[in-house]
């Protein structure tokens, strides 16, 4: 194990390490903690210059204010409405593409695979004008499905890479045995491979959920009004209205951060398994 386990070092070093851990964490998360505290600081404190002291009381009314005076609740709903279908769509499509690229040998196999991988890395701006145009032409501009369709298509790139590598690591004899038995290809996919994909599906779902929830660029390009805007775009426009009302900005930020954070803590193992795919060989 590297570095040397702390248990093998002197008592003083161990003690120092135990102390360093919380201190380092505090420094690392300091900006976040500051915003969390500001989100429950009463407006009156800010007006009197009490920016860093103990809040005079816990002003949960800031959160109530955000919900009462802004379309925040609608933004949150909109984010879910775009994110959930995207997760389902991208996972479903990539299960099939990943299966095709992992199981079958055909000429264009690697070419298609690397096209998915490369497409996943291109700058969003090269897609922006044509995708916006296409969405307008389809009459889907400023709708949840217009945004979700694009996300599904784009995320299929990353998801295919993930699924293909996962299926490739499954024992191929399973499939060969089934073929000898005369099982059709579709049934092999449905009854043999799919049940083994549960961990991959879980890992990808949490990852894609977080990616899409946090997407800002496409939300600004493809949606314009509070009826459809997800929370990232909503927060950005509220930030323009709340000039220096930092207690509200902070409360809004915390609200926007909560769902992916909750997702991460609930599904931590899957999340990290998904993210670190390929970091070990």
């Amino acid at each position: 194990m590297f570095p040397r386990p702390i248990q093998q070092t002197s008592a003083a070093t161990q003690w120092l390490y135990r102390l360093a851990l919380p201190v380092a964490l505090l420094l690392w998360l300091f900006p976040l903690l500051g915003v969390a505290v500001t989100s429950v600081r009463p407006a009156a404190d800010l007006a009197q210059g009490n920016y860093f002291g103990i809040p005079s009381y816990l002003a949960f009314e800031n959160y109530a204010d955000v919900f009462r005076n802004t379309p925040m609740a609608k933004y949150i709903v909109n984010s879910f409405v775009v994110t959930i279908p995207t997760v389902i769509g991208a996972v479903a499509l990539s299960l099939m593409t990943g299966f095709a690229l992992a199981i079958y040998k055909f000429k264009a196999n690697l070419l298609i695979f690397f096209m998915f991988v490369a497409g996943n890395f291109v700058p969003f701006q090269i897609l922006m004008v044509p995708v916006r145009d296409l969405t307008l032409d389809l009459g889907m501009y400023n709708t949840w499905y217009g945004l979700a369709l694009f996300h599904i298509a784009f995320q299929t790139g990353f998801c295919t890479l993930f699924m293909r590598n996962f299926i490739k690591a499954l024992p191929f004899e399973l499939i060969e045995a089934a073929r000898v038995e005369g099982v059709t290809e579709w049934r092999i996919f449905w009854y043999i491979v799919l049940p083994l994909m549960r961990p991959a599906i879980a890992a990808l779902s949490v990852l894609i959920f977080t990616f899409i929830w946090n997407d800002f660029f496409w939300a600004t390009v493809l949606t314009t009004s509070p009826e459809t805007q997800p929370i990232t775009a909503g927060l950005s426009s509220l930030n323009g209205q709340w000039v220096a009302a930092w207690h509200l900005v902070s409360a809004g930020s915390i609200l926007a951060a909560l769902p992916p954070v909750a997702m991460f803590f609930l599904m931590q193992k899957h999340f990290i398994a998904g993210l670190t795919l390929g970091a070990v060989k």
């Binding site: 964490l25 500051g34 998915f116 044509p130 059709t184």
Partner: protein, 295 residues
């Protein structure tokens, strides 16, 4: 029909499985790349008639001072973003222990990556805010005068990059933590018996084994640096006086904002950015291709 299907099932099946995903990807990702290249030769406001102007957009780009600023900032982004690789490794080494509660520490260190960049941008705007921002206060305490980082054309890009490094370091850290977890213990023990420790151990024994993690860390860091858009948009909108623009933001500004709808010119900027990224993407693909075909 069914006889044909029976005979050719294995040959047709992959294409049927691929069709839905491939069609979606072709329509929304592959085709738009070429459409953008095509649009970059036109003068077009997005609504009216598009006018073919050949390479005029590119000629204009070459003499556009905003382009120079954006390009320069992209290079600064790329160079400084690379710091997240050693920084992430350092934190991973620091946290790679088995003491009580370490799992929670690792998760909390990873936190910044889970949060939206919009929120990260707002958090750092608050951190830098002139008059009462924490960093402003700290600088004021030590030097007597505070610095409004996001209002200073010379500092603003560095301020935004610092905000971007926060989640990026967290991401690299988690890659290295996973990598460290899989370092072969017998090799480490053998090296230890040979007297290797500290830096020499890290450099000659550990880092070679962390190669796959380093590769992915570099890939995601390069892509992340060149994709930087959210933070610039949230923290400064490219200001003050356009000094914090990057290519991705400048493209958005020209094509879709109050400065006008110059789709053709915007597309030309996007093509330049795409060209830069393609250099890196081809490198990654080439390496992955080699790994695939060697197996």
């Amino acid at each position: 029909m069914s006889a044909y299907w029976k005979a050719n099932q294995r040959r047709l099946a992959p294409w049927l499985f691929l069709a839905p995903g491939l069609i979606m990807f072709a329509v929304y990702v592959i085709a738009p790349i070429f459409q953008s290249m095509w649009i970059s030769f036109y003068d077009w406001d997005g609504l009216g008639e598009a006018k073919w102007i050949g390479t005029a957009n590119y000629a204009e780009l070459a003499g556009d001072p905003n382009m120079v600023t954006s390009f320069k900032n992209n290079i600064i982004w790329l160079a400084l973003y690379m710091l997240s690789v050693p920084a992430g490794l350092l934190i991973a080494i620091f946290l790679n222990q088995t003491v009580r509660g370490i799992r929670l520490y690792k998760s909390l260190f990873f936190f910044p990556f889970v949060i939206s960049q919009v929120v990260v941008g707002l958090i750092f705007s608050w951190f830098y805010a002139p008059g009462f921002g924490l960093l402003y206060k700290v600088i004021e305490f030590f030097t007597g005068t505070g610095v409004a980082i996001l209002a200073d054309p010379d500092l603003v890009t560095y301020g935004i990059i610092a905000a971007g490094l926060w989640p990026q370091i967290a991401y690299v850290m988690i890659l290295y933590l996973t990598g460290l977890n899989n370092v072969a213990p017998d090799q480490v023990e053998a090296a230890r018996l040979d007297g290797a420790k500290g830096w020499r151990m890290l450099w000659y024994v550990i880092l070679p084994q962390l190669r796959p993690a380093t590769f992915i860390a570099v890939v995601v860091t390069v892509i992340g640096a060149l994709r930087s858009f959210d933070l610039v948009s949230i923290m400064t909108s490219g200001g003050p006086f356009g000094s914090s623009r990057v290519l991705s933001y400048y493209m958005y500004e020209t094509a879709l904002s109050e400065y006008g709808y110059r789709m053709g010119y915007g597309a030309a900027i996007a093509v330049v950015l795409f060209g830069i990224m393609m250099v890196f993407i081809s490198g990654f693909i080439w390496k992955m291709w080699r790994d695939e075909t060697e197996r």
